[in-house]
Point group: C2
Chain length 466, copies 2
């Protein structure tokens, strides 16, 4: 009898304590969300970052101001330590000339909205003019070869795939035209490229974004044209494939300069060596305020810190807020952070990134081992009441990806993606597009996930939460 | 052996045919979504309804124009039958006077934004002025009683519960202040009421909406004040509870007039007697264009018809598009539709409503028997790739609720609710707030659900879709 009753007692005690732990977690998640929805400050911080500081291109005065602002802000909220992590960053500048026109053979000139892609070289003074060739794939480009492309301007006009429910899937399919399109065109003697902006909308905003030259090929200037402009250019080309395109850009690069990641940390009370990092990136493109990309992620991450302080939660594991510098055109902040973590022998059990916009959060992407993912999936029923249902992608994030090799589970906040590319990297990425509740729900999602990670870690064994 | 092999064969055949049926459904849902995301017209129709017709208050010239527009539109798309279903509707009008101010005792007058609640009587000419009493519940009102309220203006100032993740839950908690607040205040001798607008935002838009008088009590004028105005009034009251409120409104009612539901139908090829209805409401409030409430639902419903036609789908069961009149202030169209269905002995197996905005769809509310809901839930894995995961509510919709008694499963499209109340019933409910992809995804969600219903009905027995 005794032999039987002990396991039974043990089992009921276990069930009871699990149920009670689950209930406690559930109450704590509710407290976290209530704190943010009732007293959240992230919307006001984003207002400041957007309207008082503005666009924060890496290495710009505004980026420096944003470092100072977030440093002071996290200092004033209070943490066990708040510090700057220096890193050298590139300085690309747009310059003051950026214009383009389509030169038709029988109906005059048409001015169209363009912007230089980040990293592009300038055109010759006064601009360049050449016949323009429309392509939709690298295969098409290769087929045309030098015979078809020498001395011409290549027009990459592959539209977004509107049938992709997640707009990031459409972005992925066209991203390479922006990233390596210039060099691929230069390979066949083209003298410039025009990229159809990477967006779902048909409008007049050109979308910038980083590009990369292949150093073994000539560096040719590359710009993005608004989708409205791309539609018009394509239509005109259908009637006359001898029309020419003219564009002028005066962008340039300056020597690297010192900048910083901004870091704050609450040390874990039981397992301080186990680190959970969360962050977004402080730099943005220069065309607008960078409110959604990624001001939203910055203020959501800092809201995690404020919430821990406001509720007096003492995490069992170390929670570290990392505001990364230079995600958009270099990733130097991310590189430095990962190098330093490795050098110090730090153990990141998880790294969270919020760089997919401030829209309504729907879940998290998980990139790690099966055991790590399984540990997180035990909490899914706790997160469902907050609209977090989708854990199906492996999207972590560019600023944290280097931590995967160091053993961290990468966790990327996944907001609703429908509106994201409407403003992405354009002059339209401004504070008025941000909805307070959507932004706050994202901050709450991060805070809840970090709470569960810091309370339970990822090695808690067989506990199953329903 | 024979005895064993037959069931085995039967079983494998069944499994094979189920897998194949499921695959066919999955392909068809993909086709439906692609058709809408690539060739959808609902966004352009909503542009017309919003910008060429405008606000469509029941019984107004604009409502009549909208009847004509949607009738012609569905006629031009083509259906087995397109017709108008007449019904008498009320005519409440705002009039040309609508203004308010707070009369402080030591810092002058403060003009605040108000609007009449739909159905309110006018104030006396020149307006009414009285001391104002802030309350947050009907209990508080009762406690104050006649002694505290006679001759005064009652200010219902219960804010939205920001901790509710679904904003409709917050709406439900405060809705009754709008609906019966005036009569409840009149019960204790109040001479007017001011309602804090039912919204999450703090801004300067007053939100109108229907109210109802208790015929056994005096009818007193009632208005909504913007949340910004409500905050200010409440703050001023904290310093001086003797301040007065003044408001003037010249709203009035005219005799009922004839209007219409607009109906189109594709008859089922195998079970024409089984009807699946889908609709939104054509009328709106008068303050703006009614783009989100419920122009979105109207054009999404018509998109279902266009999609069936464009893809040449012949539904096994009858698919009926019902554009309802007078949802906002009377529900006469819904009443007429249900009465006629009953009179004709029609069998609605399901009725779908889209009246929760054009934002990203997240699921469907289901209101019916367990068997009906179970039948729908078999399809959930087919719908998940389109972001439709939430079937947890029983929210059907006001225009279809009367069909439940007639045996229909009520199905309400559930879009993301975060932004809905920002513009609800205000001057800000305009076309520019609508995102094309979000709107189209809603149309696609309805079309997919209707496809599954029309192909399989709700009595298909034990088939389980994974």
């Amino acid at each position: 009898m005794l032999k039987k009753s002990i396991p039974f007692l043990f089992f009921t005690t276990l069930v009871f304590s699990l149920a009670s732990a689950q209930k406690e977690d559930s109450l704590q998640l509710r407290k976290i969300t209530n704190e943010i929805m009732l007293h959240g400050k992230c919307y006001a911080w984003l207002d400041y970052l957007s309207n008082k500081i503005g666009g924060r291109l890496t290495g710009s005065p505004q980026a420096a101001a944003a470092v100072e602002y977030t440093h002071q802000l996290m200092d004033s909220i209070g943490a066990d330590t708040v510090y700057l992590q220096p890193c050298m960053v590139p300085r690309w500048r747009r310059g003051d000339k950026e214009n383009a026109k389509i030169l038709t053979n029988n109906s005059g000139e048409v001015t169209v909205p363009i912007c230089a892609l980040g990293g592009s070289v300038a055109t010759a003074q006064g601009g360049i003019t050449a016949e323009v060739v429309e392509v939709h794939s690298f295969e098409e480009l290769k087929k045309m070869g030098t015979a078809g492309l020498r001395g011409k301007i290549v027009f990459f006009n592959q539209p977004f795939d509107e049938t992709a429910v997640n707009t990031f899937d459409a972005y992925e399919k066209t991203f390479m035209f922006r990233y390596i399109g210039a060099s691929e065109a230069a390979r066949y003697g083209a003298i410039g490229t025009v990229l159809r902006s990477l967006t779902n909308s048909i409008d007049n905003y050109p979308h910038t974004g980083v590009m990369q030259y292949n150093d073994s090929l000539p560096k040719i200037p590359c710009c993005a044209i608004s989708t409205g402009g791309a539609e018009q250019l394509s239509k005109l080309l259908k009637n006359d494939n001898k029309i020419r395109f003219h564009f002028e850009m005066s962008c340039y690069s300056m020597p690297d300069v010192k900048s910083y990641n901004v870091i704050a940390e609450i040390r874990g009370s039981q397992h301080p060596e186990e680190i959970i990092a969360v962050g977004g990136h402080l730099d943005s493109w220069d065309l607008a305020q960078g409110s959604n990309d990624d001001g939203a992620g910055v203020v959501q991450s800092i809201e995690v810190l404020r919430t821990y302080r406001a509720l007096g939660i003492k995490p069992k594991r170390t929670v570290r807020i990392v505001i990364f510098m230079n995600e958009e055109n270099g990733g130097r902040g991310a590189k430095k952070y990962a190098e330093e973590a490795k050098r110090k022998g730090e153990e990141h059990i998880a790294a969270l990134e919020t760089d997919a916009g401030g829209e309504t959060p729907l879940g998290f992407g998980l990139d790690g081992t099966k055991a790590q993912k399984d540990a997180v999936m035990k909490w899914k029923d706790l997160l469902l009441p907050y609209g977090l249902y989708d854990f199906s992608t492996t999207d972590g994030g560019a600023d944290i990806e280097k931590l995967k090799d160091q053993g961290a589970l990468l966790i990327g906040l996944q907001p609703d993606s429908q509106r994201y590319f409407d403003t992405h990297h354009t002059a339209a990425d401004t504070f008025d597009k941000i909805n307070k509740r959507e932004l706050e729900l994202g901050a709450s999602s991060l805070s809840m996930m970090i709470y569960l990670l810091s309370e339970h870690g990822l090695n808690e064994g067989t506990i199953i939460y329903h």
